[in-house]
């Protein structure tokens, strides 16, 4: 199995960003997740082929980092921070509300593959604690009720894209700092939305 031509082109560009193709393994793993929704064995073999790592090396990298998921994921990965600053301001209650509203326990994905729920360590949003991310797009300071509303909105509206500024406006509370201006680019799935990785929606072209 090989990637479609445009994805291969993207892989070549990503490899070109580094002096050594092996350095491109993490960007390519995100690219593989974009293709399959999570990291499949085939995806990891493809990454090995491109980077010159062995498949075992790729797997050892993939399983080292928390954001590379080797099990099927929901459309929406809801991550709730329960590290110290968020714990102090109700992060545990937000996690409980998310688990209850989605019916998905911490660390699991529902049968319909709509939601994956996880508690995570510090998201760097301590001044806006508690912090939640949907597909790594941040929402600062939601109350447990707002977190429930966020999950209901995802379930009822099934937005094809999620965006940090939009969700913050709808469901957020206190922010770590003034976000100042909103941007429109949005996440396509449970991986970080970043232009060069081909994981971000760039608008209708």
């Amino acid at each position: 199995m090989t990637w479609p031509a445009e994805v291969q082109q993207r892989a070549k560009e990503l490899i070109g960003r580094y002096p050594d193709p092996k350095s491109a393994v993490m960007p390519l793993l995100y690219l593989a997740m974009r293709q399959d929704g999570y990291l499949t064995e085939t995806g990891m073999q493809e990454v090995a082929g491109w980077t010159g790592h062995t498949p075992a090396q790729v797997q050892s990298v993939a399983t080292f980092y928390g954001m590379f998921k080797t099990e099927p994921l929901g459309t929406y990965l809801v991550s709730v921070c329960t590290s110290i600053s968020c714990m102090l301001l109700g992060g545990d209650d937000v996690l409980e509300a998310v688990e209850d509203e989605t019916g998905v326990p911490d660390g699991e994905t529902d049968a319909d593959r709509l939601f994956s729920v996880e508690h995570v360590e510090c998201l760097g949003a301590c001044g806006g604690a508690p912090a939640v991310q949907v597909n790594y797009e941040l929402v600062e300071g939601p109350s447990p009720d707002q977190a429930r509303a966020l999950c209901r909105w995802l379930r009822d509206q099934r937005p094809a894209l999620v965006n940090t500024d939009d969700m913050q406006e709808r469901f957020g509370g206190r922010r770590s700092f003034d976000w100042a201006i909103a941007e429109e680019r949005s996440a396509l799935g449970p991986f970080p939305a970043f232009g060069p990785y081909g994981t971000v929606w760039e608008g209708d072209k």
Binding site: F64, G66, I84, G124, C126, Q133, T164, I181, E183, F194
Partner: protein, 431 residues
Amino acid sequence: MSHPQVLTARMTEHPTDSHTLERYETTGGYRHARRAIDMTRDEIVDLVKASGLLGRGGAAFSAGLKWSFLAPSRPSYLVVNGDESEPGTFKDRQLLERDPHQMIEGIIITSVANEVHEAFVYIRGEYPKPARRVQQAIDEAYAAGYLGQGIFGRDYDLDVTVHLGGGAYICGEETALINSLEGKRGEPRLKPPYFPAAKGLYMMPTIVNNVETVSNLPHILEMGTDDYRALGHADDSGTFLFSVSGHVKEPGNYELPHGITWRELIFDIAGGIRDDRALKAWIPGGASAPWFVPEHHLDLEITKDATGNAGSMLGSGAVVVMDETTCAVKAAERIVRFFSHESCGQCTPCREGTTWLEMILRRIEDGSGRRIDAELLLDVSDNISPGLTWPPKQTTICPLGPSAVSPITSVSRYFKDELLQHIEQAGCPLG
């Protein structure tokens, strides 16, 4: 607030467009990167040494001295560390998102000073929006001819590449970060021999500097060493970004000089404790730092030395404030759980020790603690960090393991009765 803002001035004065090239240039941006190209490596290194700039990633090592250690072989690389993951820390996120050109100008200056033609910005994977902003700024800088081939029309090439992390705190440790950037597991390397300045990225000389450190450079060139030093206090030059979180009324990032007191920071600047409750304890410099308590530390001046002499550190500038309703055992458990989760697993004392510390703390909090547990916590801690001294000794490759010991020694020192109560009452006395 009467304290001068430097790093956060532009985003405060021009909130809606501080991240754009246009605003950056109309407020004086890129003048010093241009100037730096005409300076010699020694001139810039000496200037930064004289400025007294200390690394802002947590270790507070002289930036200029670090640069002066760069080995002569080439190519050399620059890696900007934006893997900000220390619980309580969120200042680099603001700098990346709100003033990315300030960092890019710092990258140009650092690169010229270290003969670097290829720089990387390693941003944690959970920061996609900051990464998008930085990429946008890099694209603008390329288009303007400030990055790429022949920057500023001169005979100097510089490429800058953003690399996203994968959700591993340990990659903030510079040698782990380098392994990660080479496409390996983010496991720290032994120092010596793998000091990045000698054997770094691809075994070549490499400078690893924090986002805030690099963002200071345009201001050092702008102000000169005397004025820059004067922003600070005695040996702590420049300003310092404090990330204040937890039970204060006004959490946030505050750019301040050193030398104010903890009382001023917590009660005046951050507005005091929510609902006017009593202050129980605070962490002065990120989850790795031993805690401070009001009885001993509130009127201490916030300087590197005063904090170090009192048995803690300013670290990454993360101040986590806990009020009287906080259970000290639960807070410690949460911090230890973090380090247990983030241990890379290479060193036995850290991998096994942090796991045991977490389990013991959890059973104490849950009411299943045993009488020996208070001693056992210290015994396990002693295997990770012999003697439980400050600064900590380590039996491990990197300081992650000893970081997990800080909350244990803090509870043991200041909240021993509360810990023992948990065991005696078979549960948390705070409910």
